[in-house]
C-alpha cells in the first residue's frame, strides 16, 4: 500500500527530443526528474501542463535508464498539444500503472508477437525485452502489419529486424503503392499467420493493435490451435486515474488500468462487447 503518497501528482519531466515517425505519430524522448522504472507493457499518464493527461505505454527498452520514449498518434485534444511539444519543453508523468507482460512465463517457450498499427509502440518495448532474453526463449516470432508503408511506425527499425538471425519475422501492409518500394507482404495481418513456425500447444502469443485487428488475429490464432489462455492482449480503454478508482476503463469485473492493460484472453473472453 502506497500510504499517503499522492497518486495524482505528476513528476516533472523534460522533453529531450521529438521525433516525427509518420504523418500522424511522433515519439517523445523523455527524461523524468527522478528515477523512473517501468515493466514492459505497463503504461504511464502523460500530462501537458494546463491541458490534461492521456495514457500511453512506453515504447522504449525498460532497461534504458537514460530516457523513456512514448510514441503518440495525433487523435484528440491532448495528443494534438503533445504533437506541438518541442525539445526542452516540460511535461508531467505519472505511473507506471497496471500489469505488464509476464516475461518470466515466456522462458523456454515459443513466443509469437503480433503487432498492428500504433500497437507497435508497446510491442517495440516488449521486443527489446525479448531480444534481451533471446537465449532463454525456445523461439521468437514477430508478425507486424499496418495500413500502408507510410504509416508503418518504426519502419526502418522493424524492417532491419528482418536481418536478425534468431528472429522469424514477416511484415505486411493492407495496401501499398508501387512507388512506396514495399518489399514485403500485402494483405491483412491475418494473411501472414498461416506459417507460424511454432506448435500452438506450447506457445504464447502477444497481440497489440487496433481492436478490429486484435479481434481477427485472436480468432485466427484460436483457429490455428492456440488456446485462450495462451494469448495475451493489450486492452486499452479510457484509462484515467491509473489506480482503479475513477471507473472509466471498466472491462467486465476488471479495470484495464490496474488489472490490465495486458490481459490473458481467457480472463476476458466472456465479457460483452470487449472489442467495442
Amino acid at each position: 500500500m502506497h500510504e499517503m503518497t499522492n497518486p495524482y501528482a505528476i513528476i516533472k519531466t523534460q522533453v529531450l527530443q521529438v521525433k516525427t515517425e509518420t504523418p500522424t505519430i511522433k515519439t517523445l524522448h523523455l527524461k523524468p526528474s527522478i528515477p523512473f522504472r517501468f515493466d514492459t507493457g505497463q503504461f504511464i499518464e502523460l500530462t501537458v501542463p494546463g491541458v490534461g493527461e492521456a495514457p500511453f505505454t512506453p515504447s522504449s527498452d525498460p532497461g534504458n535508464r537514460e530516457e523513456l520514449q512514448v510514441s503518440i498518434m495525433r487523435v484528440g485534444r491532448v495528443t494534438e498539444k503533445i504533437h506541438q511539444l518541442k525539445k526542452n519543453d516540460i511535461v508531467g508523468i505519472r505511473g507506471p500503472f497496471g500489469a505488464g507482460y509476464p516475461l518470466e512465463l515466456f522462458k523456454g517457450k515459443e513466443v509469437v508477437v503480433i503487432g498492428g498499427g500504433c500497437g507497435f509502440a508497446p510491442i517495440r518495448s516488449l521486443m527489446y525485452s525479448l531480444f534481451a532474453m533471446q537465449g532463454e526463449l525456445k523461439q521468437l516470432v514477430f508478425r507486424g502489419g499496418c495500413k500502408n508503408p507510410e504509416e508503418f511506425l518504426y519502419k526502418q527499425e522493424i524492417t532491419d529486424w528482418t536481418g536478425k538471425k534468431d528472429l522469424n519475422i514477416r511484415l505486411t501492409v493492407d495496401h501499398a503503392e508501387k512507388k512506396s518500394g514495399w518489399k514485403y507482404n500485402v494483405g491483412l495481418v491475418t494473411t501472414i499467420l498461416d506459417d507460424l513456425p511454432v506448435s500452438p500447444a506450447g506457445a504464447f502469443a502477444i497481440i497489440c493493435g487496433p481492436p478490429i485487428m486484435m479481434k481477427f488475429t485472436t480468432l485466427k490464432l484460436i483457429e490455428i490451435g492456440f488456446k485462450e489462455k495462451q494469448l495475451y492482449l493489450s486492452m486499452e480503454k479510457n484509462m484515467s486515474c491509473g489506480i482503479g478508482k475513477c471507473g472509466h476503463c471498466r472491462l467486465g469485473n476488471y479495470y484495464a488500468c490496474k488489472d490490465g492493460p495486458v490481459f490473458r484472453y481467457d480472463s476476458i473472453e466472456n465479457i460483452q462487447d470487449i472489442w467495442e
Binding site: 500500500m1 502506497h2 500510504e3 499517503m4 503518497t5 499522492n6 497518486p7 495524482y8 501528482a9 505528476i10 513528476i11 516533472k12 526528474s33 500530462t47 501542463p49 494546463g50 491541458v51 490534461g52 493527461e53 492521456a54 498518434m73 487523435v75 484528440g76 491532448v78 495528443t79 516540460i90 508531467g92 481492436p211 486499452e236 480503454k237 479510457n238 484515467s240 486515474c241 489506480i243 482503479g244 478508482k245 475513477c246 471507473g247 472509466h248 476503463c249 471498466r250 467486465g252 469485473n253 490496474k258 460483452q272 462487447d273 467495442e276
Partner: protein, 341 residues
C-alpha cells in the same frame, strides 16, 4: 447504553466543535440538508430520514484539488476532521462501497483516506420512511448496524446513545456528565420504534413491488437487450443527477486547469450516463447509446459490485428516484429485472 437528554445534544455538539467540523441535518421545506450552523441557533433534525446530500459528499468531495504543479505533496485539506451527526443506515452502507474503491488495492486515495481516518460518525435511526425509501429490499435495516462510532435513537425526551467503535465508546465516557443510564422502558421504546419503521418501509416495498436481492442475482446479464433497456432510457436527458446523488457512485474525472506556471488538478464527480464517459481518444466509444449507458449503470451496481465486493451497490435510499427529471424509477427497473428470469 446511555440516554442523552434532548437539551444536552447542543452541549455535546459544542464540545465536538472544538476538535471537529460538525455537520447536522437541518430541515428546510420538508427536506433535510447537512449544515455546520445547526446547534448554534438553527433547529436540527437528527432523526427522521436521510438528508438530501449523500454522505459520500463529505469524504469523496464533488470537487477536490488533488495536485498542484509538480509538487508531489498533497494539497492541504480541511484543518479539522469531520464529524457527521445524523447519518442514516442507507448512507453507512455507501461507505462499504466507497471504502472499497478508495482504500483498497495497491494505491489508496490519500484524500479520502485522510478524511475517513479522522472522522467521527454519529449516526441515527430513521424515525420515519418517505415514499422513496426501500432499504430493506437491499438488506439494510432503517437503523445503523455497523460503520458508525456512536448511534442516536430518538425517543421521548432525547436519544438513546450506543457506541459502535472504540472511538465512540471513548466519546461517551468523556462526555458522561451529559448522559444518563438508559432505562429498560427507553430500550423497549427504541425496539418498538424500530419494528414500526421497518413496517413502514415494507409498505413501500409492497406498494412498488420491489424485489428482494436474491431475485436480482445475475439478472442484468440475462437482460442485456435493447428491448429491455431502451424503454427505460428513452426519456433520460443525460444530466447525471442519478450518479451525483447516489451514495455509492464513485466515478470521477481528473480535470486540469491553469497553465504551465500554475497547474491545478481537480478530481470532480463524473457520470457514466454521459456520452463521453468511456470514449477513448480517436472517438471509439464502447457505449455510444444512452440505453447502453443506463444498462451499464445497473450492471455496475447489480453485477460488478456483487462479484467483486459481494454486495449490491444500491442502498435503497431512493435519492435517484427523486432526482431524475425523466422519472426513471430504479424500483420499476429492479421489478422488471426480477420478472425477466
Amino acid at each position: 447504553m446511555y440516554f442523552l437528554p434532548e437539551q444536552n445534544l447542543r452541549a455535546l455538539v459544542t464540545r465536538l466543535q472544538k476538535d471537529y467540523t460538525v455537520y447536522l441535518p437541518e430541515k428546510k421545506n420538508n427536506k433535510r440538508y447537512y449544515t455546520t450552523d445547526a446547534g448554534n441557533g438553527t433547529s436540527y433534525t437528527v432523526a427522521e430520514v436521510r438528508a438530501c446530500e449523500p454522505l459520500k459528499a463529505f469524504f469523496f468531495k464533488a470537487r477536490q484539488k488533488v495536485a498542484a504543479g509538480y509538487d508531489a505533496a498533497m494539497p492541504p485539506t480541511e484543518a479539522k476532521p469531520l464529524c457527521i451527526v445524523g447519518a442514516k443506515a442507507c448512507d453507512l452502507k455507501g461507505f462499504k462501497v466507497e471504502d472499497y474503491v478508495f482504500l483498497n488495492g495497491d494505491f489508496s486515495d490519500p484524500f479520502y483516506r485522510r478524511a475517513r481516518q479522522n472522522n467521527l460518525i454519529i449516526s441515527a435511526d430513521c424515525s420515519m420512511a418517505i415514499d422513496t425509501c426501500f432499504c430493506l429490499a437491499l438488506g439494510i435495516k432503517p437503523f445503523p448496524e455497523d460503520n458508525y462510532d456512536c448511534n442516536l435513537s430518538q425517543i421521548d425526551g432525547g436519544f438513546l446513545l450506543e457506541s459502535g467503535s472504540e472511538k465512540g465508546a471513548r466519546l461517551m465516557e468523556n462526555n458522561r456528565d451529559l448522559l444518563r443510564e438508559g432505562t429498560a422502558a427507553q430500550k423497549k421504546q427504541r425496539s418498538e420504534q424500530r419494528t414500526h419503521i421497518q413496517n413502514e418501509v415494507r409498505k413501500n416495498i409492497k406498494k412498488y413491488e420491489i424485489p428482494s436481492e436474491e431475485h436480482l442475482k445475475g439478472r442484468v446479464k440475462k437482460n442485456y437487450s435493447y428491448a429491455f433497456w431502451n424503454p427505460e432510457a428513452e426519456n433520460c436527458v443525460e444530466c447525471g443527477a442519478c450518479n451525483t446523488i447516489c451514495p455509492t457512485c464513485h466515478c470521477f474525472l481528473l480535470y486540469d486547469q491553469g497553465d504551465k506556471r500554475a497547474m491545478e488538478r481537480l478530481r470532480v464527480w463524473d457520470s457514466c450516463m454521459l456520452k463521453r464517459f468511456a470514449r477513448v481518444a480517436g472517438g471509439a466509444n464502447p457505449r455510444p447509446e444512452l440505453w447502453m449507458r443506463l444498462r451499464n449503470r445497473f450492471e455496475k451496481k447489480f453485477d460488478f459490485f456483487p462479484q467483486v465486493l459481494g454486495l449490491n451497490a444500491c442502498t435503497g435510499c431512493g435519492r435517484c428516484i427523486s432526482a431524475c427529471p425523466a422519472k426513471i424509477d430504479i424500483r420499476k427497473v429492479l421489478g422488471r429485472l426480477a420478472a425477466h428470469a
